[in-house]
Symmetry: C2
Subunit: 338 residues, 2 copies
């Protein structure tokens, strides 16, 4: 059975559904799912953007609500078969400035969802968007799922705590949850208003605007990027297979790249822009994790997942998308248009 | 220099200061510290009990306040040299029933303290009371500090998150924190109103009341207990030595014991009571961690700590204490007397 068939005639809830990962996932399910419900708070600086669903807005339901709103969440989870739980505060730096806000969204918001499911829908399969940030500085690369988790920022701690919440609820209350520890991801539909989440997309904006990309230090740290379509497929694969219950999976590209080379690739793909190297700012240096390369052999061996879109192709697609739809992503107020 | 000299003429703040660990720690500092401030919310079912400081109440300051009260916390941390951060929700089972409350105290309460120190006293040395519950089911015994942390309950997740908060603040904001991952601890001044925290002390009450101790399953799981005086010394040692900054340390007894044999030791020490074996209740079984034996060689090698009071002596001292002061601990309302 093809993994997409698991979603045939099913009801799917996506938190953060108007954001980057959520809206790409929604699009991938349009021809298969019976109902797609996008739950998103459209918090101004965050990734939610109604333009992300412009081409298929009549085929999905949208709930504008915060994950921390228990009343709305209780209603939203009723009767759904799958929940892709992607909503969150995603800025490393912001989590260090306002740790309470990060905790409230990334810990409490996830508990609200889990409690809603425990009370109203224990059968829903929940796929949680974890993050590479949970590992912190690596003892070895490539990092596998057994590597200890010692995040360097509050965001990483809270994302890790929420992953544990999911697995504990799944085990203790006979529910179904798994976690994808997502790599750096880039591609169409990412917010482009600032560089606090998803630096690669921000660099694409700078390059397209013929701007100067600032590289901290020597840029020799290794990074590992996935194109969004590959991440979407990983979400759908893990939700489709019962052996994923209580499991965690890394994603990765298999093609580690030096940060500085990535910048050069971006400039090539955009056909404009330049870069300069500057010293590490203090607030970034203290939470910087050094080299990051993921071992994704677990998901490859168990589910047959591997990335299909590599940097050159992915960057071209991304640049093409934003050249076409720049006006929908560059403006600070764009995402809140209803 | 003796470790106690590090506290000479110093100001010491103890959160959870009217509880089991906090009040024993306060007593140990009476002859040395310049000022001892006990910060405690006296939440009814928790461990705070004013009788715990009956013998030295004129030598300490008491602030009755919740760690989540930022205004009171901001004032409390000003000018102190050491903070033993012990306050918390400590019931595994309760954390599964009301995860929001556990998160609010064990995550947010600790962030309130750390933010207070970041803003008003970055020089305070903070010693956090972590827990063996952070590890979850063990891959190997004895468990050392490098063992991965995969808690089986929400309490364990939130205690672990707060330990990370401490270490992240310490590293990112030039502060000073360390964590003791405390073993099961028993001894005088523990609350005796219910068995949800510290099962060994609860068994001591049952035995002293000539009651029946219920042992779940075969009782063959291994446990590792420390007498409170040894834990107090560990706190004082870690706070006294600058090499402990950003470090975590396990405590342990070096004398693992089967749960069932522990029960027999309690009955012997009390000279009364009996036990029966019953099947595991579902709510306990799902969060049960199996064998737990700690490797405490790190604190032994680095600080020379090792336990000095073993089970027979410790149980005798504990039974003697509660025989004498039973009326101050058995009553549900006793702890709130002011």
């Amino acid at each position: 059975m093809n993994y997409i068939d698991a979603y045939k005639n099913k009801r799917v809830l996506i938190t953060g559904g108007l954001g980057f990962l959520g809206s790409n996932l929604a699009e991938a399910l349009l021809d298969t799912a019976k109902e797609i419900i996008l739950y998103d708070a459209l918090i101004p600086m965050y990734g939610g953007n109604l333009f992300n669903i412009q081409n298929f807005k009549d085929k999905v339901s949208v709930i504008i609500a915060d994950t921390r709103d228990a009343e709305k969440m209780n209603e939203a989870v009723k009767g759904v078969d799958f929940i892709f739980n992607i909503a969150g505060q995603v800025s490393h730096v912001d989590s260090m400035i306002d740790p309470f806000y990060d905790m409230d969204i990334n810990c409490r918001g996830n508990l609200v969802l889990l409690e809603a499911c425990k009370k109203h829908n224990k059968d829903a399969k929940i796929i949680y968007a974890g993050t590479r940030g949970q590992y912190g500085k690596l003892d070895y690369i490539p990092v596998d799922e057994k590597h200890k988790m010692e995040p360097t920022d509050i965001y990483g701690v809270n994302k890790m705590a929420a992953e544990h919440y999911h697995l504990i609820y799944s085990k203790a209350f006979d529910m179904w949850a798994c976690s994808l520890r997502i790599n750096n991801t880039y591609g169409p539909r990412h917010q482009m208003k600032h560089g606090k989440y998803g630096i690669l997309n921000w660099f694409i904006r700078l390059a397209l605007d013929n701007g100067v990309i600032k590289v901290f230090g020597d840029g020799a740290q290794l990074r590992d990027y996935n194109y969004v379509d590959d991440v979407t497929r990983a979400f759908l694969l893990t939700g489709s297979d019962d052996k994923c219950r209580n499991q965690v999976y890394n994603l990765g590209s298999g093609k580690q790249i030096k940060f500085i080379d990535l910048v050069k690739d971006v400039l090539n793909a955009a056909g404009s822009g330049s870069y300069e190297q500057i010293p590490w700012p203090k607030d970034r240096e203290v939470i910087e994790i050094g080299d990051y390369v993921a071992d994704f052999s677990k998901i490859k061996n168990e589910l047959g997942w591997e990335p299909k879109v590599f940097m050159e192709e992915g960057l071209k697609k991304t640049c093409d998308y934003y050249k076409k739809y720049k006006s929908e992503y560059w403006d600070w107020h764009q995402s809140c248009k209803i």
